[in-house]
Amino acid sequence: MTGWHIHTGPVAVLPHENVDTDQLIPARFMSAPRSAGYGQFLLHDHPDRARIAGAEILIAGRNFGSGSSREAAVYALVDAGIRAVIAPGFGDIFAANAVNNGLLPATVTPEDAAALMRHSGPLTVDLVAQTVNGTPFTLPETWRQKLLNGWDDIDLTASHTAEIKAFSTTYHGKNPWSLPNPKGDNPCE
């Protein structure tokens, strides 16, 4: 994943609340390999599908990306060319998935979201200033750093391998009950 800090692009508005990940990508498309390109599945059954074609920044209603943990929803957005979603709140798992794929989930106030929805022309998202065309957005600092630097969690964790090993040894010594009972593998059915 490569980091980024500023992006200017065309905007689409999806003025609905609770656009869940089932709407972002219906379940029937999720057996496709990523190499197929998930952009074609984005909002496949949604009446506003045509409205978002060509957009790079999406402005949406509150609780965007709620529901299923399917990262495929983020793949669909990213593969369709979306770099940032701006909304007054996101589904928890969706937002984490977004950041893991370089997609910015920028939280703004409901008033600012409404104002941005009325804006015409492209918008500029700035991860350093933490603004969209001057309007501030919130984003956990950890996630901002990940997006800016293109950090990958597996790489980050690799530097802690020794600590993890030491932790698990101590932890299992103290909590032997936490391991699966080896007898569990005996066929008992």
């Binding site: 609780n63 990262e71 998935n97 964790t157 009950w177 569990g184």
Partner: protein, 455 residues
């Protein structure tokens, strides 16, 4: 003074970065067919699975509930999981295995889920396992790959919300109704980003099955996870389960220390009175669109509500009990356990259904247990199809879908547009309420059918 959540979190913290993000040890990692993206990420880096002994695979999302897989693509999804688990030495409960079932049903059933553990799975309803006092939450594919590679996960500590539920549930009212009631009251993002601890006498009186239903639906209120403090009900349910703790007495002694300390502080405190809860049904396309069955289709006050009513084909002012359904579905990680099947069977016993429907037990073990009790006959005699275990019509990935425009009374967790198939209309409710709808062919107050039969 610590909360249950604090105790479990703190015990698993490998390290904490300066920015407040913690690296947590993961005790159990459950994978399913949908984990294929994560295994591919691992393969692309040439990484092994760090702890195959703590990782378990199961076929559920794409599992056929009758006959062969519906398409080669669906068969391929299950084969890919079988191949990935075999390659990495992960135990796998595939199609036909006596331990196969929905991941959130088999985890507890096999004793993989225990109090005080951290449980992860690439599925939002992982919150279910919190019923045992585990810290259990759903994760995305990149995080699944991370857990596979490291047996740890990076997390920011969420605020904790205590949801205290007191009062006696009326006959015909279940944990499903309690969950829909609080989600309707607080909204689908009402608990967003929070860990919920369900407390209060109503929860203490609940069976493990009921607690699992309650915790399962935490995500539908936006929470990251839901938890119930472990107690004697928990220990009795878990004792003797195949993978449950080798040193049982020591484990129980530890688990008794897990409940929140008296006086522990919560970031939010909400109380609801269970005595006032009636059987609920959803009328819209979000779990918060729930009303007592005695109510009417509401007049829309938002663009979203107007849109939901149009999708659902409903007219404001219509009594909910006038809504005719085309079919019913009983099953899912929300309501596919033995008690759910018993509750539905109690309503159906000796009656015929007016509409077709499917009953898919939550696991192969639940199926066997239900058949030993004769529940399969109750459903079959009533006119419902008794099929194999899997996610089935809750998500439609295996080809079990509701036809476009058709209306389904369903024990599942999401009434989202298209969730049960393109154009499908879903009404969420409890197993007893679905059984009642099956009997009459329309949404029905189950209490009118139970009259004289319950104390």
């Amino acid at each position: 003074m610590k909360t249950l959540f604090d105790k479990v979190w703190d015990a698993h913290e490998v390290l904490r970065r300066n920015d407040g993000t913690s690296l947590l040890w993961v005790d159990r990692h459950l994978v399913h067919e949908g984990s294929h993206h994560a295994f591919r990420k691992l393969a692309a880096r040439g990484l092994p699975v760090a702890r195959p002994d703590l990782t378990f695979g199961v076929a559920d999302h794409y599992a056929p509930t009758r006959g062969a897989p519906a398409t080669p693509a669906i068969a391929g999804m299950m084969q890919t999981l079988a191949d990935n688990t075999a390659r990495h030495g992960i135990r796998h409960f595939g199609l036909g295995h006596p331990r196969q079932g929905i991941v959130h049903v088999i985890g507890p059933e096999l004793g993989l889920t225990l109090p005080g553990l951290i449980v992860n799975c690439g599925d939002s309803h992982t919150s279910t396992h919190g019923a045992f006092g585990a810290l259990a939450f759903g994760i995305g594919a990149t995080e699944v790959a991370h857990v596979l590679a490291t047996q740890t996960i990076w997390q920011t500590r969420p605020p904790v919300m205590r949801l205290t539920i007191d009062g006696t549930l009326s006959p015909g009212v279940s944990a499903k109704d309690v969950a829909l009631a609080w989600i309707a009251a607080l909204g689908v993002d009402g608990a967003r980003g929070h860990a919920i601890e369900y407390a209060g006498q109503t929860v203490r009186n609940m069976s493990m099955e009921a607690r699992m239903t309650l915790c399962n639906l935490s995500i539908e209120g936006g929470a990251r996870c839901g938890m119930v403090a472990p107690d004697d009900t928990t220990f009795a349910w878990l004792r003797g389960r195949p993978y449950a703790a080798a040193g049982w007495d020591g484990a129980v002694a530890h688990w008794r220390t897990l409940p929140s300390d008296p006086g522990a502080m919560f970031d939010r405190d909400i109380a609801i009175d269970a005595a006032n809860i009636a059987p609920l049904v959803t009328w819209g396309t979000s779990p918060q669109d729930a009303l007592p069955i005695t109510a009417q289709v509401p007049a829309p006050d938002t663009e979203q509500a107007r849109d939901a009513l149009a999708y659902m084909g409903l007219t404001p002012g219509t009594p909910l009990t006038d809504i005719a359904v085309d079919r019913v579905f009983i099953g899912s990680c929300t309501n596919g356990r033995i008690e759910d099947l018993r509750a539905a069977a109690d309503v159906l016993r000796g009656h015929e259904t007016r509409v077709p429907g499917t009953v898919s037990p939550g696991s192969t073990a639940v199926k066997r247990m239900a058949e030993a009790e004769g529940l399969d006959r109750v459903f079959s005699d009533a006119g419902l199809a008794w099929v194999n275990a899997g996610c089935s019509m809750c998500v439609g990935m295996n080809g079990d879908t509701v036809a476009p425009g058709q209306r389904c009374a369903s024990t599942t967790n999401r009434n989202f547009k298209g969730r049960q198939g393109p154009g499908a209309r879903t009404h969420l409710m409890s197993p007893a309420m679905v059984a009642a709808a099956a009997r009459t062919g329309r949404l029905t107050d189950v209490r009118t059918l139970l009259r004289g039969r319950v104390a």
